[in-house]
Amino acid sequence: MDYTRQEMMAIATGREFSDGELAIFGVGLSMLAGFWAQKNHAPNLIAFTEGGVFGSTPVGGLPWGIEDNRISANATSFTNAIDALGCLVASGRVDNAVIGAAQIDKFGNVNTTGIWSGETPWSAGRYVLPKVRLNGSGGANEISVGAKKYVIMVTHEKKRFADKVDYISSPGYLNGGNDREKHNFVGGGPAAIVTTLGILRPDPVTKEFILDSYFPFSSIEEIKENTGWDLKISPDVKVVPEPTELELANLREIDVTGSLRKK
């Protein structure tokens, strides 16, 4: 079948969502995955944006931002950031969500703030400027702290899958095990890392992410090569089922501008 790696990633992410869940999506790939799930297998998946835009589906193409007219035109309710990110997300009400990552470590800690290239901002005992400044947390910190579970979407490259992230923008399992408990986070932590090559899931005890399954076009070797730590492989590692014709047709109806079909 003819599909792109981006399409496989979006579908694999969307499969993580179940009917009836309350979910929050960001813009771009994450929103496509979410609206695909709603169309494909979860008609009662309820989604809103961190701006407090409720009841809408995108019209006229993928929104450039989660507040623009493409996502606002047919909303049933507009509220605000404290409502969406505070009362619904940080409070622990949201069932599922998607966040992105520029860098990620084996405990699912996410960096979207800056790249210090091996150094950390403070490691030298003195602050150093970031080599590359990124976008910061946005609403991902609230999701990582509050959502019952969430998916991290990230391009599978060695530089992104770091032994230790330069900066923790959104906490995963921190140092692993029960380390989240120290901070009384209400949310359950990341349930999956969906990459361009496969799916990682946390060990139930250590919370270290291990390879759960890989995409038909990938392999265990390719994934290990592109991971910056010694990735463990699940004893029952499997191949992710490739998109069905219906899944793909549904995705392409959502992705009207074909943004995921660029190879």
Binding site: G139, N141, G146
Partner: protein, 263 residues
């Protein structure tokens, strides 16, 4: 009640100064923001600004590129699907702008705390991550104990954080429509403009439309910014351009990319 309608030039001359704590509103990076007000600040040569920004927008991207921002507190520093904000990114990477990271949910809560004149705001978010431990204002201290200090919940004995509150010197807020007294309607997500309008010491509105007060009396529940919290009103059609004003105009894709490319 006083007629508060003044020119943009007058508003900037009267309500802004070098080194001030300036807040813009601001519905997410692509949405409705007081871009025209920011441009006039640059025209009048304002510098050394201490900016409170729930999210970066093209306003702060431009200001940072122009070297006018000394320090900025932010929840998100990008431009959503339009990418990184080049002007701000370079200003941070070269050390011209100090960027203090929070998240999209914590900035509005800190504004709410300022509006309520609270001593601090309980923090269940941003803690346990580098938003807590890494402080741009005191970069050599790690982990920083003073950015989001810990406090004990007297009910359970468990720890949470304490955010400092925000009371900017001025908030320049974009609204869809206002009357000459400062009653204002925002269409689309409020994001944190409601909290901002109560937290700031002075408030200037920039409105796409000026309407009669009788229009406000038709749907008083839409008037989320009442005249009592507003100091001045500026009429500036398309004032959020090239970003969008929900329900009126969408973001100008070509200009968004061109502007960012130029910064």
């Amino acid at each position: 009640m006083r007629n508060k309608l003044i020119s943009m030039r007058e508003a900037v001359a009267q309500y802004t100064w070098d080194g001030m704590q300036y807040a813009h509103g601001g519905a997410l990076p692509v949405g409705t923001d007081s871009i025209a007000f920011g441009k006039e600040m640059l025209k009048q040569g304002r510098k050394d600004l201490n900016v409170i920004s729930n999210c970066n927008t093209q306003q702060t991207n431009l200001m940072a590129a122009a070297g006018a921002i000394k320090r900025m507190e932010v929840g998100f520093a990008g431009l959503e699907v339009y990418g990184f904000a080049n002007g701000l990114k370079r200003a941070v990477e070269t050390g011209k702008t100090i960027l203090e990271d929070y998240s999209n949910g914590s900035i509005p809560l800190r504004l709410l705390g300022g509006a309520l004149n609270w001593p601090f705001v309980p923090a269940t978010i941003n803690i346990g991550s580098d938003e807590e431990w890494c402080c741009a204002d005191r970069p050599d201290e790690y982990p920083c104990e003073t950015k989001i200090p810990r406090i004990k919940d007297p009910y359970t004995g468990k720890e949470c954080g304490a955010f400092s509150v925000l009371k900017p010197d001025l908030a320049a807020i974009h609204v869809t429509m206002a009357d000459i007294y400062g009653n204002a309607i925002m269409l689309g997500t409020e994001w944190s403009r409601y909290e901002l309008s109560r937290a700031a010491k002075k408030v200037v509105l920039q409105a796409d439309f000026i309407v009669d007060t009788d229009c406000m009396r038709q749907y008083p529940n839409l008037v989320r910014i009442p005249d009592v919290v507003v100091d001045a009103v500026v009429y500036w059609p398309l004032g959020a351009w090239p970003q969008c004003s929900t329900g009126v105009y969408d973001s100008d894709e070509k200009e968004m990319f061109a502007m960012n490319a130029a910064l």
